[in-house]
């Protein structure tokens, strides 16, 4: 059974009173629940939240399914999102993703066997100057080449440095 940590429940409580309408708290609480559940959300969490925040389940499910940053499937410890929109596509964004997925022997949207990485193609991340680029969990890594990207990810896997 999924249960938020009491720090999390505390956060949900004051989020509910922070905005003018209680429903505005749905987005931040879903983000929190996703972090506490290791990066993705399932139906059990939604009914737990609905019960905790006293908001109809369909309203939370609507928000959860609408936004792309709420992951529907389990993701790796480092969720690598590579931008494939127009400016990055012209500078080899898509080739970068192909190279990474070939390198870590996993296809799009799945988790590597050791659970460390999952790759997904995403839309414009607002870093078109540093094309091609990727976002790993919360950090941006710009001006990548396939080799540099693999290097950065390998370091992360060894856990010795957070970010380039």
């Amino acid at each position: 059974m999924f249960k938020l940590s009491n720090k999390g429940t505390e956060f949900v409580k004051n989020e509910l009173s922070r905005y003018e309408s209680r429903r505005s708290a749905i987005l931040p609480c879903l983000t929190l629940a996703q972090e506490e559940n290791g990066g993705y959300i399932n139906a059990e969490i939604i009914s737990y939240l609905a019960h905790l925040m006293d908001i109809p389940e369909s309203q939370i499910q609507e928000v959860f399914m609408f936004y792309t940053m709420y992951n529907k499937k389990p993701v790796g410890k480092f969720h690598v999102q590579v931008c494939c929109n127009i400016s990055c596509a012209m500078n080899g964004g898509r080739e970068l993703v192909q190279h990474l997925t070939k390198e870590f022997r996993v296809n799009d949207g799945e988790v590597t066997s050791d659970g460390n990485f999952s790759f997904s193609r995403v839309e414009c991340l607002g870093a078109c100057g540093g094309a091609p680029m990727m976002q790993v969990n919360e950090e941006y890594h710009e001006n990548l080449t396939p080799e540099k990207a693999v290097h950065v990810l390998k370091n992360m896997a060894k856990g010795n440095s957070h970010g380039s």
Partner: protein
């Protein structure tokens, strides 16, 4: 001069506009769609529903307004003075055609297996605005079909055109927030959270307002094709709200009930329990022939014949024991005219005032679920009370028990309930009556457990949709209804029964229609509104 100005200011601003060339005047603040509705000018629309909020998402109600370069949606644009609106101009027709085209490119087109075929919004508008060569050659978006949403509604997300009527219904009318639109773009799907069943008491309303076959009623699933049904107005006898309904029927009987708009009774809606009331109207559940059960032996005979025998029996008992030995038990399920006839028979002809009112659910009488469904499950309680007080029958129920114990009543006529589900205490009443030597039970459906009575004569009676009459709902509003169809032709109405009990003939010939009548194929029929 100032009075004119003041008077002008006081009286509400009435903007004038022309719709398709006709000059009309509307209240200030009405939208173009409401003006079209008032003037019954046909306009294509899916997501607008007079009983719900405006969504403005189907983009089908495009109208061309003089002076505006682009066509505007009618449901959200308010009418201003001197606006020239047309929804039949080429530009409007073209944008409606394209809006319809966008609806149809991912539509599964499974009309052969879709219950909505015949009253489907897409078919309707295609015949007016479509008739084009389909340009879409690419693959359609595949979504989940035949999703089971509880025991009343089936969902098919592929047919859904995402007009959000059902979502707005569960948010605004039934206030249960069960339905939502999940995902984004053309992967969006209507549904409940984890396919939880839709079990509020108004779930089948979402089926009525769904313009396509996405939400279909499980009870009507594959039963009949809509164009083989006719529909006429009547009222629902489920409870004392008296919702106006459209009864859908054909020679095979009644298939379903749909709400009919009535602003001061039920608005656009109707509750699910009321929809099941058609089940006991069909011929399978009905008593078609008069039934006499004496000491366990039952014989059948024609209803009129049985009524005449009852008349002689009453005549005999009246001679021996006088008016007092004849009793009448009344339920509030019949119309005012019938009560007047029956009470007039008992009061004047038989001179007995042993009339007792059988109240079925005393405890939950005042229950009310906030929208339509009331605790008082009889359609004409107010009418009955008024008739009782007019004839000053005020004996209470325990007086009946005394009289039965005192063996004073030789014969009791029971005006049995039409809707037996709401009368759980029938068997209890039968036990009470078994000491009476003659019981005449007028009923629409078979009454179970009458064998333990000494002698019980059951006379088939016409149901609400087979007779005309007035019913008074809880608010005291008199609603006059006309007969819809004829299910048990041999049955009598109470007025006929009263006439027969009094010994004289039924004024007109009520024989069953001649056999071999040509079964008429309803090729053209009057369809319910979308």
């Amino acid at each position: 001069m100032f009075e004119k100005v003041a008077q002008k200011l006081k009286e509400p601003l009435m903007p004038k506009c022309t719709i398709n060339g006709k000059e009309i005047e509307v209240k200030d603040g009405t939208t173009i769609m409401e003006a079209f509705y008032q003037k019954e000018v046909p306009i294509a629309h899916y997501c607008y529903h007079p009983g719900l909020s405006i969504a403005g998402v189907c983009r089908l109600c495009m109208v061309e307004i003089e002076g505006m370069p682009r066509t505007q949606i009618a449901c959200n644009t308010k009418i201003t003075e001197g606006m020239k609106i047309s929804n039949v101009s080429d530009k409007a027709k073209d944008s409606v055609k394209w809006a319809l085209d966008f609806h149809l490119i991912n539509h599964p087109l499974d009309c052969p297996i879709c219950d909505q075929a015949g009253e489907c919004g897409l078919q309707e508008q295609y015949m007016h605005f479509g008739k084009y060569e389909p340009e879409m050659g690419q693959g359609k978006v595949k979504k989940r079909k035949v999703v089971d949403l509880g025991e009343r509604v089936v969902l098919d997300t592929e047919r859904c055109i995402l007009c959000s009527r059902c979502v707005r219904f569960t948010d605004e009318v039934s206030k249960t927030n069960e339905l939502g639109i999940f995902n984004r773009g053309d992967r969006s799907e209507v549904g409940t959270f984890q396919d939880k069943p839709l079990n509020n008491n108004y779930s089948v309303n979402t089926v009525d307002i769904c313009p396509v076959g996405a939400l279909t009623a499980k009870d009507f699933r594959f039963k009949q094709r809509v164009w083989l049904l006719k529909n006429r107005e009547s009222i629902c006898t489920g409870c004392s709200t008296g919702c106006n309904v459209n009864v859908y029927f054909n020679k095979g009987g009644v298939y379903r009930l749909k709400p009919k708009y009535n602003s001061d009774v039920n608005g656009h809606w109707m509750c699910d329990k009321g929809r099941d009331t058609y089940k006991h109207l069909n011929v399978e559940a009905r008593l078609t022939k008069g039934k006499k059960t004496e000491e366990g032996k039952t014989t059948e005979c024609d209803a009129g014949e049985l009524a005449k025998q009852t008349a002689q029996l009453i005549e005999k008992i009246k001679k021996e024991g006088g008016g007092d030995s004849i009793g009448l038990i009344v339920t509030a399920q019949y119309s005012n005219e019938e009560y007047a006839a029956m009470f007039e028979l008992f009061k004047i002809k038989l001179g007995s005032n042993n009339v007792f009112y059988w109240i079925n659910n005393q405890k939950t009488f005042e229950a009310f679920d906030g929208l339509l469904y009331r605790g008082d499950k009889n359609p004409n309680t107010k009418g009955l009370l008024r008739a009782l007080s007019k004839c000053k029958f005020d004996q209470t129920w325990d007086k009946l028990e005394e009289k039965i114990k005192a063996k004073q009543l030789k014969i009791v006529v029971v005006l049995g309930p039409e809707n037996q589900e709401v009368y759980p205490d029938i068997s209890e009443k039968l036990k009470l009556l078994n000491s009476v030597d003659n019981v005449v039970w007028l009923t629409t459906n078979q009454v179970l457990g009458t064998e333990l009575l000494k002698s019980c004569w059951q006379i088939p009676v016409k149901s609400t949709i087979e007779k005309s009459g007035t019913y008074i709902n809880f608010k005291g509003l008199e609603q006059k209804i006309k007969p819809v169809t004829n299910i048990v032709s041999g049955a009598l109405t109470l007025t006929e029964a009263a006439a027969l009990f009094a010994g004289d003939e039924i004024p007109f010939d009520s024989k069953t229609p001649v056999k071999g009548e040509r079964v008429w194929n309803e090729f053209f029929h009057h369809r319910g509104d979308l």
